[in-house]
């Protein structure tokens, strides 16, 4: 097993319960592992939540952590995947002064080239939304920061796997 650290996307299917985020993040904290990003949302199954957690660790560590996550009573199933095995995206918002949009021609090109979307424009500011890989978002951030960014925020990674995840089947098996 590789002893080299690499990025893993952890997908955790859980019951929707207060406190579960604490329980899961504590498993990483105990081992002094930094969570790069974490996202919690509903999943494809009604009543089932899905955590998407990004960590940079060795595969050996990853396997042990998956075991400890799955051990939690309200966790249905946990998976880990490399970037090659998933389709993933991040999303971000930029708030920029509106006059720049008219005074700096370059900005319009940047927006066009980056496939960013203008969410809203008013007299004072406009808001730009961009989804994509982290590197694309970082590039856009670099380009816009030359002109000044009023506010910036980036979401955690969300991802789906190329392989099917058979959570529904597992839950059906329990019903029987």
């Amino acid at each position: 097993m590789s002893q080299e650290k690499q990025l893993y996307t952890v997908s955790v299917y859980t019951e929707n319960n207060i406190g579960l985020l604490n329980r899961i993040s504590a498993i990483f904290q105990r081992r002094h592992i930094n969570i790069e990003s974490i996202n919690s949302s509903v999943s494809e199954i009604e009543g089932v939540s899905r955590f998407t957690i990004l960590v940079k660790i060795t595969e050996e560590q990853m396997k042990k952590i998956i075991g400890q996550i799955e051990k939690q009573v309200e966790v249905i199933k946990a998976f880990y995947h490399t970037d090659d095995e998933t389709i993933y995206q991040e999303s971000c918002l930029f708030k920029v002064k509106s006059d720049l949009l008219f005074n700096e021609r370059q900005i319009q090109n940047i927006i066009k080239d980056s496939n960013a979307r203008i969410v809203t424009v008013n007299k004072e500011f406009f808001v730009l939304e961009k989804s994509g890989r982290k590197s694309e978002i970082e590039l856009l951030h670099r380009e816009l920061s030359i002109f000044g960014i009023l506010q910036f925020t980036r979401s955690g990674r969300i991802s789906v796997t190329k392989e099917p995840m058979e959570i529904s089947k597992m839950l059906e098996a329990f019903q029987q």
Binding site: E15, G19, A26, K64, G67, E70, K71, V73, I76, L171
Partner: protein, 578 residues
């Protein structure tokens, strides 16, 4: 804020619902789960439940401990000797936080326990109200499951889940926090036991291929070694385990929590592994060709340095918790599942064997240990009393039938090394967490759960004073526990390490003790102190014969060390005899 649930009459066979308060529901749930005793301490936020305990006192016995930590250890002692779920109850804030040490202890030692805490009213949550603490947040890392109840109607389902989770699979502690308004509110009560949770697989399926592969390895082994843990006891697999090792003639060693699963005198029992375990099983761990681990978790106190642990051996791991597989030691074959079922299925696949030559190695090394360590411990010629000879005397007089409840430190290692066990569930000690103060309250719970058994607490002078207030519980309940304090006027284990690894700089380990006899007598407990060898046997006899609680203090040699010893970070085969 009244609950307005309508009576469900969909299933006539189940009991008709009844309108009761949340607090009465708590007690009714406990009764439905077969709880007849619980340990706790009242306070503001749990008063409604105590009011119901008062009404139901002919059906359920509440034991007032002198500190909430004592309640958890008593519940642990109760659970460890009986196999049933122990129950502890406390109020919010400090009452709840005082439970934490016991909960952490139960978590790491897989003890089934349900803790119920009162909480401030739900409208006050998060406002820094009087005696409010986020006990759910605090207890999350040390519970198998926890849950906060803010509505009375949730109580039956949540408590049913609590007992199911605490007891099933790999057991553990569960904490249920109930707001005061949820205790007062009325609702239509109906109780159904929990039989399953969709996200929770308590016992993983046993893979037949893995089982066959395990059998093949065991059958082909020339030098097999079994290391068993508490999984045998928790899984009530003692008979199946015995059948397996007897059929294949497997030398078997135990972890501290596995002790007593088979009798000490069993011909295949080769002793304890780990830091202060026996010489032979530790040394031969690094010589065996197949290591068969059953219901144990390769704790670092067992393995010493992992880089040099059993590297020559193929490891088979029988385990109920998938997260333990490959956690510390790489396995060749992992057999997931319940120990009782797995071992039963394994038995017919095994060949009969005796491994005579291999057994001889254990005997040879045992002889060395007897000469270098055991003789000096059990038959000392020096003037001072040894802890070992006290244990020997207790063995003699109890005929190995006593349940030994030990605290943490030198006396614990001596107790585990030398106590003779003839009955399972006889070694109750804080293994994983190493909680000083565990023994006195745990002995109370153990004796209450098994009144027919002799329960002897073996405690050091340090740990004794961490929960000494529970003498009050013993006095009030008249529970006839036998308490032995092995007093060396030192925090002995730390002192031993200071001697060996810190150039004898005895930082804060010399302890000035009070008059323990006066203290015991202050609680009206019979007490005696022994300082001379010639008085020991008579004093132990008087203690064992006593029908009521008894306190025996034995002054032992101040600076004795526990050997053998695997220094931290050393290999099991580098175990020191002196």
């Amino acid at each position: 804020m009244k609950e307005t649930q309508t009576i469900e009459k969909t299933d006539i066979k189940t009991q008709v619902t009844e309108r009761i308060s949340g607090s009465e529901a708590v007690v009714r749930c406990l009764l439905a789960e077969g709880v007849d005793i619980l340990y706790g301490y009242p306070g503001g936020a749990i008063m409604p439940v105590y009011d119901e305990l008062y009404k139901y006192q002919d059906k359920i016995h509440h034991v007032l401990t002198r500190h909430e930590q004592g309640a958890t250890h008593a519940a642990q002692g109760y659970a460890r000797i009986s196999g049933k779920v122990g129950v502890a109850i406390a109020t919010s804030g400090p009452g709840a936080t005082n439970l934490i040490t016991g909960i952490a202890d139960a978590q790491i030692d897989s003890t089934p326990m349900v803790c119920i805490t009162g909480q401030v009213g739900s409208h006050l949550l998060g406002t820094d109200a009087f005696q409010e603490t986020d006990i759910i947040g605090i207890s999350t890392p040390v519970t198998k499951w926890n849950h906060q109840v803010t509505k009375a109607s949730e109580i039956p389902e949540v408590l049913a889940k609590a007992f199911y989770i605490a007891k099933s699979g790999r057991p553990g502690p569960v904490l249920i926090d109930i707001t005061k308004d949820a205790q007062f509110d009325e609702f239509d009560f109906k109780y159904e036991k929990c039989t399953g949770i969709r996200s929770y697989i308590p016992v993983p399926k046993t893979n037949t291929t893995a089982l066959k592969a395990a059998a093949k390895l065991i059958n082909e082994a020339k030098k097999p070694l079994v290391v068993w843990g508490q999984g045998i006891i928790l899984g009530e697999a003692e008979a199946e385990f015995k059948a397996v090792i007897e059929k294949s003639g497997l030398p078997s060693a135990w972890t501290i929590l596995g002790a007593s699963a088979i009798p000490t005198s069993h011909r295949l029992n080769v002793g304890m592994v780990g830091m202060h375990g026996n010489y032979a099983p530790n040394v031969l761990t690094n010589e065996c060709d197949v290591l068969i681990a059953i219901g144990m978790r390769f704790d670092d106190r067992v393995t010493g340095n992992l880089a040099t642990y059993a590297k020559q051996a193929k490891v088979i791991h029988f385990e109920i918790d998938p997260a333990e597989i490959d956690k510390n030691v790489k396995t060749e074959v992992a057999v997931l599942g319940d120990a009782k079922a797995s071992l039963k299925a394994l038995l017919p696949l095994l060949n009969e064997n005796s491994h005579h030559e291999w057994h001889q190695k254990f005997k040879d090394l045992y002889k060395i240990e007897v000469e270098k360590v055991i003789n000096g411990d059990l038959n000392p010629t020096k003037e001072g009393l040894t802890m070992g000879e006290v244990l020997k005397e207790i063995n003699n007089q109890s005929k190995g039938k006593a349940a030994i409840v030990s605290d943490v430190g030198q006396h614990q290692m001596i107790a585990c090394r030398y106590a003779e066990f003839n009955e399972t569930k006889s070694n109750i000690t804080s293994g994983g967490l190493g909680t000083m103060g565990f023994a006195l309250p745990a002995a109370i719970g153990a004796k209450m759960a098994a009144p027919h058994r002799e329960v002897v607490a073996i405690i050091g002078d340090g740990g004794y004073q961490m929960t000494i207030q529970e003498l009050g519980t013993i006095f009030q309940t008249k529970v006839p526990v036998k308490i032995v304090v092995l007093n060396n006027d030192f925090l002995g284990m730390v002192r031993q390490w200071q001697q060996l690894f810190f150039d004898k700089r005895y930082a804060s380990t010399e302890i000035q003790n009070p008059n323990f006899i006066t203290i015991a007598e202050g609680y009206y407990i019979k007490a005696k102190k022994v300082t001379k060898r010639e008085d020991l046997a008579a004093a132990v006899k008087e203690m064992m014969d006593a029908k009521e609680a008894y306190f025996l203090e034995v002054s032992v040699e101040k600076e004795d060390n526990v050997f053998p010893m695997i220094p931290t970070g050393a290999s099991v085969s580098d175990i020191r005899l002196s």
